[in-house]
């Protein structure tokens, strides 16, 4: 039997890398345009979720292993907190990025970059974690039309 979702699979296979790329654009262009770590993390998670919706949760778990989630969400918070501790150790206040470079505004750039990267890791991991947690319990998509007739 031919796959009834062949068109969906081909189109999303083309789109998923572009969505992930757009997430990184939003992440690293956040200083100049709208966006930042939070939005980028959600978009990155959306690309994984789209893969899960089209190709199934088992294939998604090999592409984005669940072990990455615990590492990712912890690493993000540690990166954010670690940036604060590092600025603390270098003689500034907690999360005062100006001490990272001789030029205070360059230090601010580095600090914002590190902090946003931490937000990206945590947000993307947690969104995928919630999707995995609920998605793994699915009995498969029921036929909505039949369910409506029953009710």
């Amino acid at each position: 039997m031919r796959d009834p979702h062949i068109l969906l699979r081909v189109v999303s296979k083309f789109l998923i890398p572009l969505i992930a790329l757009f997430a990184f654009y939003v992440q690293f262009h956040g200083d100049y345009g709208p966006g930042g770590g939070f939005q980028a993390g959600v978009i990155l998670a959306a690309s994984v979720i789209l893969y899960g919706l089209v190709f199934g949760i088992a294939a998604t778990k090999t592409a984005f292993p669940p072990s990455w989630i615990r590492i990712g969400m912890t690493l993000g918070v540690l990166l954010y907190g670690g940036t604060g501790v590092l600025s603390f150790l270098l003689g500034g206040e907690f999360l005062n990025y100006s001490v990272f470079s001789h030029n205070p505004s360059h230090g601010q750039h580095y600090g914002i970059l590190a902090v946003e990267l931490g937000v990206l890791c945590t947000v993307a991991s947690v969104m995928v974690a919630i999707f995995y947690a609920f998605g793994s319990r699915q009995p498969g998509v029921p036929n909505i039309e039949n369910a409506n007739e029953d009710g």
Partner: protein, 234 residues
């Protein structure tokens, strides 16, 4: 992005009121429709129209978040939650609708009363444009040298707040992992959505398409599979 547009022409009014009218229509549709699938989809539509309206109000960063979170991820999450529950919502008797209606009317009237105290749209003397907001706008150009003031405020001036937000998201993820696990309660669960009973043995069979649970548990023949399974279960 930050400076409000000063010329408010007729097309802008039409856009604003048109989008608000669509929001009201979608909200009524969400109340009236009984199919939960349609409700989830309409909530996605609501978020998307909200995002378009935020763009028209020059709040691009907020619009971005609304489109990504509200219309994108939360629609999928609501959908996966709906599949575990029922497909249709049960009708609520009129007698139980009166209390919520009274509360909504009182809250709505309180908001309408408060509208009179709000500053005009884009007003130079509004609280957002007069105190600390202007300070951030002036200092960002001198101190941080990045064009997007929103990012500067979020990540640098208000770094503590964003740290707190990140920890909140981390805590939410931790709660989900503790309660449900990444594999649906670590593989030991049973659910009866829509009268169709599923238990962990079904899900394991579908997840591990080759090889049953027993073979992957006792057999050392597939070390890579065993490793993934262990990571899932933990």
């Amino acid at each position: 992005m930050v400076f409000a547009s000063t010329s408010h022409a007729l097309p802008v009014y039409i856009l604003d009121y048109g989008l608000l009218a669509i929001l009201v229509i979608v909200a009524f549709a969400i109340i009236r429709v009984r199919s939960l699938f349609a409700i989830v989809m309409l909530q996605g539509v609501y978020s998307l129209v909200c995002a378009a309206w935020f763009v028209s109000l020059d709040a691009v960063d907020v619009a971005f978040t609304e489109a990504a979170v509200g219309a994108g991820v939360s629609t999928v999450l609501m959908l996966s939650a709906m599949l575990l529950a029922d497909c249709r919502s049960a009708p609520v008797p009129i007698s139980r609708q009166i209390g919520p209606l009274v509360i909504v009317i009182i809250a709505g009237m309180a908001m309408l009363y408060a509208v009179g105290d709000m500053p005009a749209y884009g007003s130079a003397t509004s609280p957002a444009n007069s105190y600390v907001g202007m300070d951030y706008l002036e200092r960002t150009a001198k101190e941080i040298h990045i064009p997007n003031v929103v990012t500067a405020v979020l990540a640098s001036y208000r770094g503590y707040d964003t740290f707190g937000e990140t920890v909140v998201i981390f805590a939410a993820g931790l709660g989900v992992l503790l309660l449900l696990g990444l594999n649906g309660n670590a593989g030991r669960w049973e659910a009866c959505p829509n009268g169709q009973c599923v238990s962990d043995s079904d899900s394991v069979a579908s997840i591990e398409q080759s090889g049953s649970l027993a073979s992957s548990r006792e057999g050392e023949t597939k070390p890579s599979k065993l490793k993934t399974k262990g990571a899932d279960d933990a």
